[in-house]
Symmetry: C2
Subunit: 467 residues, 2 copies
């Protein structure tokens, strides 16, 4: 009997796993063995669906005993192959741990299982007149456990921070099989190293998150959206500063004329205003009081007078605000037909203009046929660089060329002290480039920490770094 078969037998025999909790059919292996990345073929040995922390612990102990690697699996919407099982792993799907537990109104705190879907949590918050503010395109299928594993960001980070900021407690099973209850929901707890923060963003390489305590927030009121067009990138920075000095922004997003060209050609969204400009920002803020609208208008007019803004529009209703958001939200889908080669990088906001300039120069001088589409969460210094495939070029040639560009991109990231993965994690796709953002010495410390929690390297082996 193979090690995996032995583990499955034990799970069924001694640990109460029923038939629906273990799948080994090909379709399931294919389905649960991968995420949204397409670079690696899924090849897991089995898919296991635990229902309790104790069942997860049993599985981890068996995996240690039989030297089988476990791949944690959430909504499988990852973009770095962090949840891909390509080497005979047992996938640990959290699909059956998707319950929302105790809610503490006075603390605005809710306990959830790791398989709760982001949108499910958002809706729960809404039903209690509260708000879970971490939001992004895959909220309808991404699971909270995965969000915690990658410290997911998204479109509201400028105001509400990353996933990290909302995680008040975690229950984890370490790679050694210990159950730890980390921080237990407290705002203030100065009792030694905060292991909760070590697990957040660890991509399942230290252990498995089974439960979390999540802080909720009051809902935003009367969100208003502005879309502004400019012709010089440096003015984007001026506009950010001008608004931020006087208004609490809930979003400050950016896209370029390539993005708007594609959006208009695709025909699903309306042009925000008559002028076509080189750069666009979408900014959002709460405006429950008339003076805030007046202030926003005054800043807008000042930006026009300064010559920073060519044209602009402000939403007058919720429907209009949603319509303007589509300009930003539909970009990914719209450019997907051009087989974009994506990178998700970040630098200090201060360095963004020089960084974009450098990359544009690199691409245009080396690959004059390549079209570059920029968009991103510029209020956080987070840029999504998308290189679009020329129609005449084969996919293979295109990706091979992009691999070369990658090198230049990450050298430029390093030049500005930036991050090779701002919010998508490292997984397998960014693993070869980790050293552009973390020193070799630092990576050695990461590996030593991994050994503390997972000495047999059974937890998501081969992700972030190789041991």
């Amino acid at each position: 009997m193979t090690a995996v078969a032995t583990i499955i037998q034990s799970l069924k025999g001694s640990y109460g796993f029923d038939r629906a909790q273990i799948r080994t059919d090909l379709e399931s292996l294919e389905h649960w063995g991968k995420d949204w990345t397409k670079h690696f073929a899924p090849a897991p040995s089995a898919i296991v669906f635990p229902k309790t922390t104790e069942q997860v612990q049993a599985l981890v102990l068996l995996a240690n005993e039989h030297h089988i690697v476990l791949t944690p699996s959430g909504g499988r919407t990852g973009l770095s192959a962090g949840a891909v099982a390509a080497n005979g792993e047992i996938v640990v799907s959290m699909d059956k741990m998707n319950q929302i537990g105790t809610f503490y109104p006075a603390d605005r705190l809710v306990e959830i299982e790791a398989g709760v879907v982001t949108e499910q949590l958002q809706q729960f918050a809404e039903s209690h007149d509260l708000y879970y503010p971490v939001d992004f395109a895959s909220a309808g299928s991404s699971q909270m456990g995965g969000n915690i594993g990658t410290n997911a960001g998204g479109i509201k980070v400028i105001r509400y921070g990353m996933t990290r900021q909302w995680i008040m407690g975690l229950t984890v099973v370490t790679g050694k099989g210990d159950i730890l209850h980390l921080n237990r929901g407290m705002v203030k707890n100065a009792t030694g190293y905060d292991l909760r923060h070590l697990f957040i963003g660890s991509e399942g390489t230290l252990g498995l998150v089974t439960h979390a305590q999540i802080k909720l927030e009051r809902p935003p009121q009367d969100l208003t959206v502005m879309v502004l067009g400019m012709d010089n990138f440096s003015d984007v920075m001026n506009i950010l500063s001008a608004f931020q000095a006087k208004i609490d922004l809930t979003a400050f997003e950016f896209f370029d004329s390539v993005a708007i060209d594609k959006l208009m050609a695709h025909g699903q969204v309306q042009e925000p205003f008559e002028s076509r400009t080189k750069f666009y920002t979408l900014l959002e803020f709460e405006a429950p009081y008339e003076p805030i609208m007046d202030k926003a208008m005054a800043i807008f007019e000042d930006c026009m007078e300064q010559g920073w803004v060519v044209d602009g529009v402000m939403s007058q209703s919720i429907a209009q605000a949603q319509e303007l958001w589509k300009l930003r939200e539909y970009i990914s889908e719209t450019i997907s037909v051009f087989t974009p080669y994506k990178n998700d990088v970040s630098v200090l906001i201060t360095h963004v203009p020089a960084f974009i300039n450098d990359i544009d120069h690199i691409v245009s001088s080396n690959y004059p046929d390549f079209e570059v589409c920029w968009f991103g969460h510029i209020g956080d210094g987070n840029l999504h660089l998308n290189i679009l495939k020329p129609e005449a070029m084969s996919k293979d040639d295109f990706f091979a060329a992009c691999q070369v560009v990658n090198q230049y991109v990450f050298e430029t990231v390093q030049k500005y002290g930036g991050s090779v993965s701002a919010e998508h994690g490292v997984g397998m796709t960014k693993k070869p480039y980790l050293h552009y953002s973390r020193s070799e010495t630092e990576i050695e410390y990461l590996k030593e920490i991994k050994k503390v929690f997972d000495p047999n390297n059974i937890m998501n082996r081969g992700k972030i770094f190789d041991m």
Copy 2:
């Protein structure tokens, strides 16, 4: 020659330390060898004042070579003896690394040395029309390095979070002597374990922080203060919920009638209103727009109608707001003549009423002569429990009795899943009680992590836990 003498000789000879950077006179040993705690007699071997990260590194490498323990030292305002050197350690004072470095306006980010005083950073922020929001009584002398080491909290946590939330990057020298640049100021950086968060709150036991990158915020506008009096503790919770649903609070503080009795007897502050009630809350919020004041008044009137609030007052000017704040700020100083035995604990806000009730019962049934004064940051579930010494009792008898009470207090903390040190750290004074908040298994992981960064246990040995 002793090991310490050898180290000093090397520092002077090979690493450019001048005479003013090393002190061994008794007065200096006494002065830099302790913090605000008084339980341990200072007994360091030398005080060293590095000026650069490289000098810190040289010292750490020498300390490893000669097996000498280093005690990091900031503003020495700690309340858990985390910076006390009681066993021949070399104290590493950051007093000469107190410069504010590069400021990045677009990022609202500033680089500082670890010895920068909290108030110095607050004033720097102010000079750029910005705000550093972590504030507490010792801001005039506490250093940022120490705030980072304990993840300092204070009076604005309900709105702005702990120190952790404002630290965008750290330069550290690990216990092994490696220099690491952690996160380098980025908002978004998903490239593996975030070691920055491991160092925050580690009380100098993993290494020394030498530089930090600090996020700044827009300053609060038109802060308005309300002080409300109630007779039932559960109404404090109702009031918190009522306000928090509609207004973004920047503070929600609490104190009891014992505190106000002492304040009034002391005579430095005015009674907030005629009625004397059992409990008081001080709440603060921004009110730049008239409708917010109207809203606050409406909530206040509703709380009166519900019978939750007996009496209340709202500030009509900055001066009045400051005057009301004194009610909360002067408590510590006012009760200091009663030789208070202090505990700084936290539980979920939901559990606060039951927790206070349990402790009051324990103290009154075991020590009917003891007076208990409660105050704290109740919006964060953080309570300062102060047991006041009966005049007739000797200090020794009192502290001995309090040690017994401690046991009950921490058992109650554990019963509610709380923290034995909410914001003061563990240091030496809370070390015997750590297991009430962290499981034995978890503490084992803390020790293993310590070994990764500081295998020879030279960094602040004997703090948080013993190895």
